[in-house]
Structures are given as C-alpha cells and as structure tokens.
C-alpha cells in the first residue's frame, strides 16, 4: 500500500509538501497576487521559499527552521544558480529537514531522494532496469527504471542526496557529470539518447561531519557544490522552547505533564554534554555519541511515553536520566566513564540545590554506578 492512498493523518510521517500543503498554497497565492517573479521551474518565488522556511506571521506560515536565517538566504540563492547545495554539519542539526523543506517549497516534492550508504551504487544515482521487461523487450525506455535524480532532471525538480559522504568517493563522483553538464547519457538506448535537465533541476546533498567527513570527497565534486555549515543551536532558552514545541508536535494529545524544571534538566544535560562545558564554565567530558537537539527530542519523547504508560503520568527527571542511557551509551566504553564523570562533577553539585537534579542523580547512579 502506498502512502498516497492513506489520508495524511494516518501516515506516520507525511512529507513536507503534504504536511504543510496549506501553507504552500497560501504562499503560491500570495506570489500570484503580488505578481512576484518566479524562477523557471520553481513553484514559488525565492522570497516565498524563504518565508516557508523561516515563517511569515502575516500569512500564518509557521517557522520551521531556527537559528540561522542568513543560512537560509544563502541556500535559496545557491539553488537559483548552477551550483549544487551541500549542507554539512554535526548529526541532528536539521540538515535533512532543511533540504526537505527547500525541495518541497521549490519543486513541490521532497521525495526525489537518494539515501547514501556504503551500498549505494551508480544505479541508484543514474538508472537501473526492470529485468523482466529488459529480457522480454530488450533495452527500452519502458524497461528503464529511472533513479530519483533521473526523474528530477527530466521533470525540472530538486533531487536530494542524503548522507552523501557515506557513499564511496567513486560513486559520489557519478554526480560530477550530472552537475556540470546537466545531462545523463543512456547508451543502452542508443548513442544519442540522453536526458537533459529541465529548468528547476538542482541537487541538495547533506553530509555528516561525524562519519567519513568531506575531506575524502573529490575536489571535482566539491567544486560543483556550495557548502553551507548547519551549526547546533547555541542559545539554551531557545533550545528549550524548540524541544517543547517538538514534543508537542510529536505527542500531541498523548503528551503527559512535564514541568519547566524537568525540561530544563533535559536541555541542560544535552547542552552540557554537547558543548563540553556547563553554562557556568565547568568542563565536562564530551561523549562520542551525538547529543544533538534531535536526540534531546527523542529522549523527551521516550521519557514521556514511559511516564504515560509505565509511570504516574508525569515526566520526572529520573525518566530523563533513564532514557539518556539509550542515547549517550552507544557501545563506546569510554562514554560510560564520561557520563560517570558528568554525574560526579556536575550533577551531584546541582543535586544539592534542586529536587529535579536529585532525582536525575539517583536514577543515574542506579544505571551507571
């Protein structure tokens, strides 16, 4: 069964263009009314794309990406040109979300996506075949199975390439000719058969600095991308607001009560461990595990679920501590030591003056000794 046949509410995670279809509609109407100039192949004007991502109170468009508006400007302008857009950054900094939002607003679809992995091959980037038809009819357009990038070129839309650095460099390089010549040859269908990219085609790639990084990427491919670094949110109060909103969106009516103090424990613990220092300047050992805002939301969701179904219906700091284990301890023996150090050096001190941190401390001791 495809997602298209399900009503949006029933789908666990509808793509951005479905989730915010109303807002895209409002923005398109506003463009039409203002007579805004729309680039070839785009569904919205560049300013409307920007408004879709950073919000527009007057039109009732919500803000979806926080913390770096100039980055959004740069990304939109990059996509207007010939260069591809490479979003790099620590895991969990909303690179993929930003790429999805840009694709949804500019092309009306965010699903033309290649997921990079060690197993990604050239076929995933160019095209493969329906072998039954291939054997029955020989090479034909009907037997060809186009990749998301092939489809994006044909229809003049944005293609997304997630986690591009997870692919071997020689596979990444398949993109070089696509990006420079904006053409794809299909020699099996004859020497002259080629797909030329329609206006509106471009590629948004994301790369994670924790994995292989971008240093292994060939210079030829780098040259064809403009790089934008998405950084973690530095303002703790703002992060708290963001996590709270994300929990609301994730859990909706199922959300159990969580006091601001408990939320503060969640945000503070993540911020301390991510940055390696507390707000007052105490040094903390940073775990290898990713401690992004997205992970904090996951812990918040898990703690809420556990409180609702297994606890007394209220989220306590102890729930946060227990769920933190799953995030912070991903098999690195050293991370256990680092967490212990955090509990000993920071949490114990805070527990003296705060009941919430006391709860966190007690639960942490049970788990990490």
């Amino acid at each position: 069964m495809t997602t298209a046949s399900l009503p949006p509410r029933a789908v666990l995670r509808p793509p951005a263009e479905e989730r915010w279809a109303d807002e895209l509609e409002v923005l398109a109407r506003a463009d039409a009314e203002a007579g805004a100039e729309i680039p070839f192949g785009w569904r919205l004007s560049p300013r409307a794309v920007r408004a879709f991502i950073v919000g527009d109170e007057a039109l009732g468009v919500t803000r979806k990406f926080y913390g770096d508006d100039p980055l959004v400007d740069r990304a939109v302008v990059t996509l207007l040109g010939r260069q591809g857009l490479m979003l790099v950054g620590e895991p969990g900094t909303a690179k993929s979300m930003l790429s999805e939002l840009l694709a949804a607003a500019i092309s009306g679809t965010s699903t033309l996506t290649v997921q990079g992995s060690a197993g990604t091959t050239e076929d995933h980037i160019r095209y493969s075949w329906n072998y039954a038809l291939l054997i029955a009819e020989g090479p034909s357009r009907r037997a060809l199975v186009p990749s998301p990038i092939y489809q994006a070129m044909e229809s003049g839309r944005l293609a997304r390439f997630e986690e591009i650095t997870r692919c071997p460099p020689e596979i990444q390089d398949t993109l070089v000719s696509v990006l420079s010549e904006k053409q794809l040859m299909v020699p099996e269908l004859g020497d002259a058969y080629r797909v030329s990219a329609a206006h509106g085609f471009n590629v948004i790639a994301t790369a994670n600095l924790r994995d292989r990084g971008v240093h292994e990427m060939s210079a030829a491919l780098k040259r064809r991308f403009n790089f934008e670094t998405v950084r973690p949110i530095a303002d703790r109060a703002f992060e708290a607001e963001l996590i709270s909103r994300a929990l609301e969106a994730e859990l909706g009516e199922q959300r159990p009560a969580m006091s601001p103090e408990v939320l503060d424990v969640l945000v503070t613990a993540f911020a301390d461990l991510r940055t390696g220092t507390t707000a007052t300047g105490t040094t903390v050992k940073r775990p290898e595990a990713v401690m992004s805002t997205a992970e904090a939301v996951n812990v918040g969701v898990a703690a809420s679920m556990s409180a609702r179904y297994l606890g007394d219906g209220t989220v306590h700091a102890a729930d946060i501590a227990r769920q933190l284990v799953g995030v912070a301890l991903k098999g690195e023996e050293d991370d256990v030591q680092r967490m212990r150090f955090y509990v000993d050096s920071v949490v114990r001190e805070r527990a003296r003056g705060s009941a919430q941190w006391r709860g966190f401390l007690d639960a942490a001791r049970e788990l990490w000794g």
Binding site: A34, D56, A58, R74, R223
Partner: protein
C-alpha cells in the same frame, strides 16, 4: 525586506522605518520636534558614526540648507584642529588624538564619516564650524583599554529593542540591522534626507528608550549632552553675540609648550596657520546644522524643547581645553571588529561603497561587488589558494542574488561575506584561515591617511618620519615590513640598523630585531646579516606625540631613556647591556662616556660569573668593529679587559673556600674564563695574573676536587702546564687509594675546561682509566652519576673515539662496550610522533619555554 510578508513586498523606495508602526509617545514627540526645529532652520542630524549612507544624506542636506553654522559632536577643544582638518592636504583616514594619563583617545575620521563631510563642507563654504562635546579628558573610560575611541556605540550594541528588531528581520546583530534598514538603500533614496534622518532618529530612539537613566549618568552621556545643548543654544539664530561659544573655547587655557606643536599651540608654530575658526571674520547668521550620533538626538531635542526629561541633564561643565594632535590612521584600527567598538565594521568595504556611489561615473552595485570579490580572490591567490574565475563570477552573482532576495538596493557587507562563504568555502570552517586573512586585507586595509606637514603633528613625529624615509624605510602603510641588513660590510645598512635600534631603545614600538647577528642578545654573531622588522602604525605616532612633550628629537628621547635605564647604581650586566645597545645605535660618544662607569664597575665586581660575562661582551664589541663603529671606544674597552682580568685574578683567590655545591656552579664560570683568555690571546695584559691564581688554586689541597680538575684543564689548554706535567698532575690526583668522590669531581672539572687533555694525551688517559678501573664496584656506582655528567660535555664523535681508546687499553673492542639499542623502526616513529604531540601540546598551553629549556 526580510520578515515582511511576501504579498506586500514594497517598492525599494518605500521602505518603512520602525517609526511607522506603533510609535512610543516619547519617540513620536522627538520626531515631531525634529521637523519643527528643522522648519526654524535648526537641523539636528542624527547620524551613525562612519556611515556612508548618513554622509550621502548629509551631503544632500548641506547642499539644500546651506548652513551658516555647522556644529559637530566631538570634544570642544578639537575646534582648534579644524584648520588642519580642513586643510586640502589632509587625507583621511586620520584621527585627532588626545592623551590623558596613561591612556590615549582617538577621534577617527574617514572620507565617508558624516563628521568629516560636515567639517569639510564648512571649510569650503566659509561656514562657522565647531566641535561641541565635553572635553576628551572629562570623558570617563568605558573599558580598561589604554587606547579607546571617542565614538563608541555601546548603547546600540546593547539595546534590547534593536536586538528584537534583528530577530524579526532575520539579521545577525545590530550592525546588520543598520545595514539592512539604512546603508543598503538606493543612492537616490538616500538623498531624501528628511525621510532618511527621521528613520535614523527612530532607530536610535528605540535604543535610547531602552537605556537606563543611571547608566547614562554613570557613563557621562547626560553630562556630554548638557554641554552639547548649551553649545547649540549659544549658536541658535537670534541667540545674541556668541557668548563663550559653548564648549568651543577659542583659547585653550592650558597652552602647551611651544616645541610640542600641538593643535592648541600658537598659530606661529607651523606654516599651516592654526587660527581659531570660532572667530572667523566671514561668520554670518543663518541655518544651523548639528551633526551628532543619533543616540543623542532625542535627548538634545528634549532639552531644547524643555521637555520633562531635560531635567535629567546636569549643569553643563565648562571646557578646560586640552592638547590634541592630528595623526595618520588606518582602516584596520577603524574597524570595530578590531576591538575598539566604534563605527560600522569593515571600513575599507564602506570606503569602496562610498566611492562607488559618489564618483562620476559611479561603479554601481555590480561594479562594487565585482571589485571587492576580485580583490579577495587576488589576495587568496597570493596566499597560495588557486581560485578560478568561475568561482569569482559565482560569488559576484551570489552576492547580488542575496541582496535582491533580502530587498537591498546595494549589496552590503553581509551579502558579500555570505557570498564568499557560500562560493569559496568547501568545508565547515566558514570564513577563516586564508579566506579570513584575504577578507581582512580587503575589508580593513592598512593604508594610512596623510596630514599636512608641521601643522598638526609635533615636530618629533615629522622628524622621525623624515629620518626613516631618508633611510629608505617604507612607511606608506602600517603593514609590518622585513629588512635584511648587511651591517658588517654596508655602511648605509649600518646607519639603517642604528636608526632602528634607536627607535627600539626609545620604546616606540616601531622596530625589532627578529634574526641574524644580534650583538645585544649575543647570539648568531657569526652571521653577516641582521634581520629586522618595522611598521609605522598609529600606535607609533601616539608614542611619539606623547614623547614630544618632553623630548624634541629622537636622540633626546634616547638619552631620556638612557638616563632612566642607568638610574642610580646600575648593575654590571645592565651596564654592559646598555653599552652594547649604545654601540649598536651608533652613539659612540655616549658609549665612551659610559665605559668610564663600566671600568669602575668592573674593578669593583664581586661576582666572577658576572665579570666574565661582561668581559665577553666588551671583547665582542672590540672584535666586532666591522659590524659596529666602536671608534675611540675600542682602546678604552681593551683597557677595561686588563682591569677585568686583574679583578678576576682577585676573585679567583677566594675560590678555594667554596663548598662542593658552589664549586659545581663555579666550574662553568671557569670554563667561560678559559674561553675568554683564548679570545683575548696570549699578549693580553692581566692574563698572567689570572693564570697565576689558577695555578695556586690547582695546587691548593683544600680546594674542591672539581675546581682542581677545572684549573688543571685551564692550565693545560692555555699552555700554563707542559703536556708531560699535565699527565703527572692527573696521575697525582687519581693515584690508587684516592677518594672516589674526589676522583669523579676532578674528572668532571678537567673534562669541562679541557676535554682535549683526556682525548689526546695517552698518558693522561692511561691514568684516568687506571684510576677508574681500580674503583670497587660499589664506589664506581656511587660516582657514576657525576662521571656521566662529566662526559656529557663531549661530542658524540669524541665519546666514540674515547671509547675506542679505552677499549684498546682494556684489551677489548669498542663495539663490545657500546650499548646497542635494537629499536623497531615503527616504535621509534611512534616515539617521535608522541614527542611531537607532547611538544605541540606544551606550546599550545603556552609552555613552549619548557621545550626550549
């Protein structure tokens, strides 16, 4: 504009300022008042310091209003600087400098500063001009920095209202808000000055409403505004004959000394003619233009209107005058990113924007962007980063695209930086590294302005500058330059070095030696070339201006420092160091005078180590005459050597009573003394006195063994003892049954002063070997650490040769007594890697000197 709805995208000319939304009543009153006063011919102009947009709007205002009086925010005593500032030969960036206590305050002016535009217009159109702010000396310091600017804009940076505005507009900080709202408008729009300055008043008014009254009391904002209001009132049309001109006093009370040539000095001081502009004969009544920081305008209007808030201002202080000077300035220091907190960041960029807008034909936005991007790319290429033309083109397009997306008629600084970031950075480092450096050179270059000769800067500044230029030192900008000087063979290089050394001695911060032969430090004396670096920065001029209050010439300044250095009763090392510096500076006569004191100090020296060091230094000077003219000094210094050796002989006679620990230290001194004797040669007077005492010490059975060894070494290497007697002496000391401790001590001393005796004299080696082999295992182990220390003075090749000889004597092979470490190459590499990491770690933590030790 960012943050506004897409549907109501306004035309670029209809950019509403914040004032057009819900306006706070106090701000609304000020906006109305601004218009009312303007209609009466009194134009308060709310500007941002160093804003080209404000300057363009102000230019239009001045052309239309044609004021008779132009009043400018700036210390009242700077009015005396106006003739120099209005002199056509003055080229910005320049700064008016005031000195108060240990601190220096700057009032920088660039070609695009509204204050500059106003005062130059007044000069050209014969309008009365005056600075109207509180005296520089009366302003409390905002921070602990020694250098500060008088145009700091702390309140704007701290304003919560502007921070909120930044959030809503999607701007990074208050600078980008300013740029977005005002700086990047279309040029034609900027000339609609009424609308423009209503906007700037509203913008700064929001910050003003945020500021606490107590803070404004404490930082003297209110006190300054009181002075400014009084000056404005005094100049209002119909205010009667200018009584006292507010703060703009025509005659500064503290008239400075004539030789300093400060701007407060009498008019006869220089050809520029420092007449007081306040009593300009052609002065007439008419419109008044008041150029101040926008943050003050609201308060000034309230005070002029007699609003309730006017009561917050204290009684105006009378100006006490004060000295000030005009100095060359550069954009690097004007850049608020450089830490001085005044004006908009990246002044070189705004200078280009100003020229692109004002020149005919102007370059236009595209020309400006192309120009900047190409310069950044050129700077990057110079740093070894190959950047293709395609990337430069992409960056230009990107900057223009960003400006269009953000609704800016002219691409601003942030658009350009964003474009460079997007198109030239290929990882997560952002604008840093080479790109950061390239951007800095283009956005805040180090080109210096020009001031007319002798009008505004003290003679000392000009003299030093002229001397430097006559020596062909490059002072065209404030960049650091390197020069290699062959002082031993090239007289002009030696003169250049002497000048650089004098500026160093005088503490100008202009030059320093970075390599090559260094007589003062006593290093690398074998090299021919000396390497120096120098940079003519505003800080150098500041030191010179300050110094000019007491010293008219560089020589006088050097002598002043010399007197300070010598103080009362300088130590021997200090005396020799100063003497060397005088020689390096080419000041032979002063050095000759000082050598008398040196001779006295040498004859009274009580520390042999200090004495020997001093004698080494004077010997270097005598022998290094090719590098530095010692002239008449050389014979005097040679005479010093004989006095010194006599003193050394005297001090040697006391050494027999040293403890073992003291003796260990003294051995190094004896080795150094041996070197000195070698350098001075066999004919040196006083040499025999020293050798006599050495011999006495050697024969003294009560002297520590290490000294006996050292003295035996000296006697052997200076020819005091024939070879045959040397081995006898060694044998006598090491005979069977001798105390193992004494054996070891003697050997340490001997090896330290004369390793050759052991290496080349077979009989001596036999005696040493016999003495050591006769020691019991236990005794040998006890003295082993001392022996190790003794043998470390040998070079590896010498150690190897010695091992071969010892092996021969004991009937074995050297290879058999060698300890061979069979080390895995990988392990060695790992060790080397660890050491690199350790060294890097220490250096990173600021502990590099541990490594050096």
């Amino acid at each position: 504009m960012k943050g506004r709805t897409v549907t109501v995208r306004p035309a670029p000319t209809a950019r509403p300022g914040p004032a057009e939304r819900a306006v706070p009543p106090r701000l609304q009153r000020a906006l109305d008042s601004l218009t009312r006063w303007g209609e009466r011919g009194v134009h308060l102009v709310p500007v941002r310091h160093h804003s080209p947009a404000c300057s363009l709007a102000l230019t239009a205002l001045l052309a239309e209003v044609r004021p008779a009086t132009v009043l400018i925010e700036g210390p009242a005593e700077y009015t005396a600087a106006l003739p120099a500032l209005q002199d056509p030969r003055t080229v910005p960036p320049v700064a008016v400098l005031s000195l108060s206590g240990p601190g220096a305050t700057y009032y920088p002016l660039a070609e695009f500063s509204p204050e500059w535009v106003a005062l130059r217009w007044a000069g050209r159109h014969d309008a009365t001009a005056a600075f109207i702010d509180l005296d520089a000396a009366a302003r409390p310091s905002q921070d602990n920095g020694v250098a500060r600017t008088l145009q700091a804009e702390y309140h704007l940076a701290r304003s919560a209202a502007i921070a909120e505005l930044a959030r809503r507009l999607g701007c990074r900080d208050h600078d980008e808000v300013w740029e977005h709202l005002f700086e990047d408008r279309d040029s034609r729009e900027l000339t609609e000055w009424r609308r423009f300055f209503t906007g700037t008043l509203a913008w700064a008014g929001l910050a003003r409403l945020d500021a606490d009254r107590e803070v404004l009391d404490a930082d003297a904002t209110h006190a300054r505004e009181a002075v400014m209001v009084k000056a404005i009132r005094d100049h209002l049309p119909g205010a009667g004959p200018h009584p006292g001109r507010g703060g703009a006093s025509a005659e500064p009370r503290n008239r400075p000394e004539a030789h300093t040539g400060s701007l407060g000095a009498p008019a006869s001081d220089g050809p520029g003619g420092l007449t007081d502009p306040g009593v300009r004969p052609g002065s007439r009544r008419g419109p008044v233009v008041v150029v101040t920081g926008a943050f003050h305008t609201l308060a000034l209007l309230e005070a002029l209107d007699g609003a309730p808030e006017a009561a917050w201002l204290p009684r105006p202080e009378e100006s006490r005058g004060g000295e000030c000077w005009l100095v060359r300035y550069d954009f690097a220091r004007l850049d608020s990113l450089g830490g001085y907190g005044a004006g908009i960041p990246s002044p070189s960029f705004w200078a280009r924007a100003w020229r692109a807008r004002t020149a005919t034909p102007g370059a236009g936005p595209g020309g400006l962007v192309t120009d900047v991007v190409l310069d950044v790319v050129a700077a990057l290429r110079e740093l070894g980063e190959p950047v293709g033309t395609a990337h430069a083109q992409a960056a230009v397009d990107h900057a223009l695209g960003l400006a269009a997306l953000r609704g800016r008629a002219w691409p601003g600084r942030t658009d350009l930086l964003d474009a460079l970031n997007s198109c030239l950075v290929k990882d997560d480092t952002g604008v840093s590294g080479n790109l950061g450096e390239a951007v800095t050179t283009v956005f805040a270059d180090r080109g210096l302005g020009q001031v007319p000769p002798l009008t505004a800067s003290p003679p000392l500044v000009e003299r030093v500058r002229r001397e430097a230029e006559s020596l062909r030192l490059n002072l065209t900008d404030s960049s650091e330059r390197r020069t290699n000087l062959d002082t031993a063979r090239n007289p002009s290089h030696r003169r250049k070095r002497e000048f650089l050394a004098r500026t160093r001695f005088a503490g100008l911060g202009f030059a320093r030696q970075v390599g090559g032969a260094d007589l003062v430090a006593g290093v690398s004396l074998g090299q021919l070339v000396e390497q120096w670096v120098y940079a003519w920065t505003p800080a150098v001029e500041t030191v010179l201006v300050r110094a000019s209050q007491t010293a008219p010439t560089l020589e006088a300044l050097v002598l002043e420092h010399l007197a300070e250095r010598l103080g009362d009763e300088p130590t021997l090392p200090e005396l020799t160091k100063v003497l060397t510096e005088l020689v390096v500076m080419g000041m032979d006569e002063d050095a000759a005078r000082l050598s008398t004191s040196l001779e006295a100090a040498i004859s009274q020296a009580g520390d042999l180590d200090e004495l020997v060091d001093a004698l080494h230094t004077t010997t270097t000077l005598v022998q290094g005459t090719g590098r530095a003219f010692t002239g008449a000094l050389a014979p005097r210094l040679a005479a010093t050597a004989s006095t010194g050796l006599a003193t050394a002989a005297y001090l040697l006679s006391d050494m027999a009573g040293l403890t073992d620990d003291e003796a260990d230290v003294a051995v190094d001194t004896l080795a150094s003394l041996r070197d000195l004797l070698t350098r001075l040669g066999p004919e040196q007077a006083g040499r025999q006195d020293v050798l006599r005492e050495v011999e006495a010490l050697r024969r003294n059975p009560g002297a520590p063994a290490v000294l006996a060894g050292a003295c035996t070494g000296i006697a052997a290497s200076t020819g005091g003892l024939p070879a045959r007697q040397v081995s006898d002496a060694v044998t006598a000391q090491l005979c069977t049954g001798a105390d193992p401790g004494r054996v070891a001590g003697f050997l340490v001393g001997l090896l330290r002063t004369s390793p050759d005796v052991v290496l080349h004299d077979r009989d001596t080696l036999v005696a040493v070997t016999a003495a050591l082999t006769s020691l019991s295992e236990e005794s040998f182990m006890a003295v082993l650490p001392d022996l190790r220390r003794g043998f470390t003075t040998l070079r590896p090749i010498e150690t190897h040769r010695l091992a071969e000889q010892v092996a021969g004597l004991t009937g074995t092979q050297a290879s058999e007594i060698d300890v061979v470490w069979d080390l895995d190459a990988g392990l060695a590499e790992l060790g080397q890697h660890l050491e690199h990491q350790l060294v890097a770690g220490l250096e990173r933590d600021g502990l590099g000197q541990w490594v050096a030790q």
